[in-house]
């Protein structure tokens, strides 16, 4: 009979040693542990001055979409499958319009104010529907931004179809870019920490089995509303910095792109754990800019790449890589 082999996965020693215990390890181990955390951060912080004006914009976009993807991933890990990142994004943009254009607040106030207001407003808007699960919540979040877009079109408030140019910009562009990068990294690590805490445990439990959580006398709707607040604040923040960066507000802030791209990024990078979402958006946004060369085929190809990568790696790139990172394979004989 032919000898058959199977792959046997084993945890790498480094990982096994340092999951819970901290100890002084060899230089090699420390490098191995730190490099995936520190290198990307360094990369993010060092590269901007070397970029041209156009690549700076691409990088900025990648961070904005990254923030939206983080917000999506966060809501998804609480069992709220949201298709409406553009809702948060657009509301954030329009809040900047209110604070900046109508109230004349300076930029360092308008950004935090608009993110918090977005969080509050969206939590209020969505709190009646947080009891929905699965595809139903997805549908309602998909429809809300479209509804708001049409309402702005029909009523003509805040500039109507024309939008409002002339929002205050950042003092210089590189500062805006750094704000995007730093906040992106901050939220990435903040959310990872948050989900690891007791609070995050409750949120994760709601996703896994909400009735079980309810039976522990925890008001899951209150927790879900809080999750929406956090997710929406992050989305609103992304909208706010984009508006200040481009100095323009328009109906198109509610465009489907802002919902689909973060979703696609998360699907590509891998859902859960936030690093996948971040990685996905860092791949997809530059990719879509590279594909611009192809003109009209761009979107079509982009979607095909997306489909192909999802079919090849349904769990996402990040989960694949992290398995490679923390485990190794040996061939073992099948009995």
């Amino acid at each position: 009979m032919e000898k058959r082999l199977r792959k046997k996965r084993l945890d790498r020693g480094v990982k096994a040693r340092t999951d819970t215990i901290f100890m002084v390890a060899s230089f090699k181990d420390i490098t191995y542990l730190l490099s995936p955390r520190v290198l990307p951060v360094l990369f993010f912080l060092v590269i901007p001055p070397f970029l041209g004006p156009y690549s700076e914009k691409v990088f900025f976009h990648a961070c904005v979409y990254g923030l939206l993807a983080l917000s999506f991933d966060f809501l998804a890990s609480c069992g709220l499958f949201s298709l409406g990142q553009s809702l948060f994004f657009g509301i954030g943009c329009y809040f900047v319009g209110i604070y900046d254009h109508f109230l004349g607040l300076p930029i360092y106030l308008s950004i935090p104010f608009s993110s918090l207001s977005t969080g509050l407003l969206c939590a209020a808007l969505l709190s009646p529907v947080v009891r929905l699960r699965g595809v139903y919540f997805a549908m309602i979040t998909l429809m809300l931004p479209m509804l708001l877009m049409r309402l702005i079109e029909a009523t003509g408030v805040m500039g109507g179809t024309h939008g409002m140019p002339g929002i205050t910009g950042f003092p210089n562009e590189i500062l805006g870019l750094y704000l995007g990068i730093v906040s992106f990294l901050f939220f990435l690590f903040f959310l990872r920490k948050l989900m690891g805490s007791d609070y995050g445990l409750v949120l994760k439990a709601i996703k896994e089995d909400d009735r079980c959580v309810m039976s522990s006398a925890i008001n899951i709707y209150w927790y879900k509303a809080q999750a929406v607040f956090i997710g929406a604040s992050i989305g609103g923040f992304a909208g706010a910095i984009t508006t200040h960066h481009f100095q323009f507000i328009g109906m198109s802030s509610f465009a489907l792109d802002y919902s689909i791209l973060p979703l696609a990024a998360t699907a590509l990078g891998g859902q859960g754990g936030f690093a996948g979402a971040a990685l996905g958006s860092m791949i997809l946004v530059p990719l879509s800019e590279v594909l611009r060369e192809l003109g009209g085929l761009r979107m079509a190809l982009y979607c095909l790449i997306l489909v192909a990568s999802i079919l090849a790696l349904p769990e996402g790139i990040f989960h694949f890589l992290s398995r490679q990172y923390s485990q190794f394979y040996t061939e073992a004989e099948v009995d």
Binding site: F81, V129, R131, L142, R150, L297, M299, A300, I310
Partner: protein, 288 residues
């Protein structure tokens, strides 16, 4: 009177958009976001049959319906089969496929006024003092035939029985020997064929544009949600509500408010009774 008649036709059009979508969702639980793209693609199939192959009318219609059904079928086996059970991946896959189809058609130059289908029946009649073109009657008729036919098919054939079994419980269906992937792919094929029939009826009213695909998807979602995903009478009621709602809004507030109707209806229905007006026994499962 005209409001009544045109409202009816709009409603039937909307129901036609939604039937295929809700069939697929009801049977296999796949939210087929490529529905709009499949719809408009079938229109282009007809156009190609007529203008490039110079086939007679009925032949290009049936060819297009067949091709579209095949497309839905292979879509299932090539793409969805691999990601069944991961809702995020399912959704992204169908949506991305749909966008890829639509954007490819845009790129290939399938837009512009050359792309227009001739109506099946030319001319117009006067009913109760309202002029109505015959094509709109075709829409009405095909809507009725499709809904009734689908109801009969699902309730009185063996395949229909399998459809219902899978819709109720996939595991139980498996255990009594229903191959869920086969039934799922059949439902995709049938859903796509239905959207092709809808395209045959509706598209000659205007000209074809890839962007129609997005619009059809939104309306299909709206009708399906309002009526209750997977319920055939729900489609009719959902279509009627949205169709008449739009016309009445147009009359009272002006036409630019029309598009708000389906969107706010979705939001309202999801907020109040998420399983839709005719949704059945999903309450427990959806924790409402």
């Amino acid at each position: 009177m005209s409001l009544l008649i045109y409202g009816l036709i709009t409603s039937v059009t909307l129901a036609l958009y939604a039937v295929g979508f809700s069939l697929v969702y009801g049977v296999s639980g796949i939210a087929n976001f490529a529905h709009g793209a499949i719809y408009i693609l079938s229109g282009y199939f007809i156009w190609m049959g007529l203008n490039l192959l110079h086939l007679p009318y009925w032949l290009s219609f049936s060819l297009s319906i067949f091709l579209t059904a095949f497309l839905g079928f292979s879509l299932y086996w090539i793409l969805l089969y691999r990601v069944r059970g991961i809702p995020l991946a399912e959704l992204v896959t169908t949506f991305a496929t749909g966008v890829a189809i639509l954007e490819f058609m845009t790129w290939a130059g399938f837009s512009g006024i050359r792309f227009s289908l001739p109506p099946i029946l030319n001319g117009s009649v006067e009913i109760f003092g309202v002029f109505l073109d015959l094509q709109r009657l075709v829409v009405l008729a095909s809507g009725v035939v499709l809904v009734v036919g689908l109801y009969l098919f699902v309730h009185h054939t063996k395949v229909g029985l399998a459809f219902r079994a899978l819709a109720q419980s996939e595991r139980t269906a498996l255990s009594i020997g229903i191959e869920s992937d086969w039934v799922g792919s059949l439902s995709m094929a049938l859903g796509s064929a239905i959207s092709a029939v809808a395209a045959v009826a509706v598209l000659p009213l205007g000209i074809m544009e890839p962007t129609i695909g997005y619009e059809v998807l939104i309306y299909a979602l709206a009708v399906a949600i309002v009526g209750g995903l997977e319920s055939t009478p729900g489609m009719v009621i959902g279509g009627l509500l949205i169709g008449y709602g739009q016309l009445i809004t147009a009359k009272l507030f002006g036409p630019k408010w029309m598009i708000i109707v389906p969107l706010s209806m979705i939001v309202l229905v999801l907020g109040i009774k998420p399983s839709g007006i005719f949704g059945k026994s999903k309450e427990l499962e959806e924790r409402v």
